[in-house]
Subunit: 199 residues, 2 copies
C-alpha cells in the first residue's frame, strides 16, 4: 500500500484543518499519511498564485469560510495574528525530527499547527518552535541548533522544489498513487477515490 | 423558503458541473434554485483573480480535474475548444427569456451548457445561441434581436455589477440566506448547511 503524501505549509488554515482529518482518512484505507511541509511562497511564485488573504473579495470570503469550516468540523481555531507567518523554523524542525522519528515528527506537526491556529502563538519565531517542541519532550537547545543545520536547510529547499516539480501550487495538496488532490474540500473526493480504486 | 441563488458564467466548467446537480439539491430542501448568469471577467478584474487555465501548474491540474469530476459524477463532458469563450450572447439570451418564463430560461441554460461542454459548440457565437434556442422551440430571429435589446444589455451589466457587490469572485458561487458558497466542491457543504439550518 502506498502512502498518502500530504504537502502543506504550516501557515495554511486549510492545511491545518486537513491535518486534523487526513490521518483517520488514511487509516480507513490502510494507508500511511506522510507529512511533507514545504514553503508555499516559492510555489505561489511558480504558479502565479496569490495568498488568499491578499485577494479582494476572495480574502474576505476565506476568512469567513475558515471560521465556518472550523465550526462545521469542531476544530479549535481562531484567526491568528500575525497572518500569514513565515514557517521556515517550523518546517525545518519537523524535517529534522522526521529523519529520526516520523511518528514523533507528526506529533510535533500537530502541536505546531495547534500552537498557531488554536493558541495564537507566533510559530514564525524559532523560540516558539523550540517551546512547542519542549512541550513534546524534546530538548529546545537541540531544536534551535537543528534549525540551523545546513543539511536541514537543504532538505526543506529540496522538498519545496520537489513539490513544485510535482505540480504543487497550494495547500493542502495530497498525492495518492500519483493522483493529485488540492484543497481541504477535496478530502471527500480523495476518500471516494480510495474507496472506488479510482475511476 | 428563500431561494438558492446560483451565480455563474456559461464558460465555467465547474459551473456547468454544478448546474447538473444544484436543482436536485435545492428540491431536496424545498428550495427554488435561481440561475444568475454573469460575466466572470469583470469579477476577476475586481478580485484580482486569474482564469484557471492561464495559471501555471493550477491550469494543468484544473484540466485534469475537470475530466476527473465529469467521470466521478457521470456528467457528459469534453474539454471545449476554444476555451474559455465570451458568454455575452448566451447570458443575454438567458436573461431575456428569464423575464418571460423562468423555467424555460433554465432549460435553455442547461442546453447552452451542454452545447458548449458536451457537444463542443462555440456558444460565444450568437448564431449558435440562436440555434440552441431554436432546438428548445424558440424563434431564432427573436433571440438574435433580444440579444441586442438595450434593456437586456443593461440587465446583464447590472447582474454582473450586483454580483461583485455581493462578493462574487468566481463560479459557481451560491448564496443561500445570505451565506456564500464558492465552488462546485462546496455543494456538499451547502447541502449540510441546509440540513442543519446553518451552524
Amino acid at each position: 500500500m502506498s502512502e498518502i503524501e500530504f504537502y502543506f505549509d504550516f501557515s495554511s488554515p486549510y492545511a491545518y484543518f486537513a491535518s486534523t482529518r487526513v490521518g483517520a482518512l488514511a487509516e480507513r484505507h490502510g494507508r500511511v499519511c506522510r507529512w511533507r511541509p514545504i514553503l508555499l511562497a516559492p510555489a505561489f511564485q511558480a504558479s502565479g498564485n496569490v495568498r488568499l488573504i491578499d485577494q479582494p473579495l476572495k480574502g474576505a470570503y476565506s476568512r469567513h469560510d475558515w471560521e465556518r469550516v472550523s465550526r462545521q468540523y469542531d476544530i479549535p481555531y481562531r484567526f491568528p495574528e500575525p497572518f500569514p507567518v513565515g514557517t521556515v523554523a517550523a518546517a525545518r524542525a519537523f524535517w529534522w525530527l522526521d529523519g529520526r522519528d516520523a511518528a514523533q515528527a507528526k506529533r510535533l506537526g500537530h502541536a505546531l499547527f495547534a500552537a498557531y491556529f488554536a493558541e495564537g502563538r507566533n510559530i514564525s519565531e524559532r523560540e516558539v518552535v523550540a517551546e512547542v517542541a519542549a512541550a513534546q519532550g524534546l530538548d529546545p537547545a537541540t531544536i534551535l541548533a537543528a534549525i540551523e543545520l545546513p543539511e536541514i536547510k537543504l532538505k526543506l529547499r529540496q522538498e519545496t522544489e520537489g513539490a513544485i516539480e510535482r505540480g504543487v501550487f497550494g495547500a493542502p495538496f495530497l498525492i495518492v498513487d500519483g493522483e493529485p488532490f488540492w484543497g481541504f474540500d477535496r478530502l471527500p473526493q480523495l476518500d471516494e477515490w480510495l474507496t472506488r480504486g479510482g475511476w
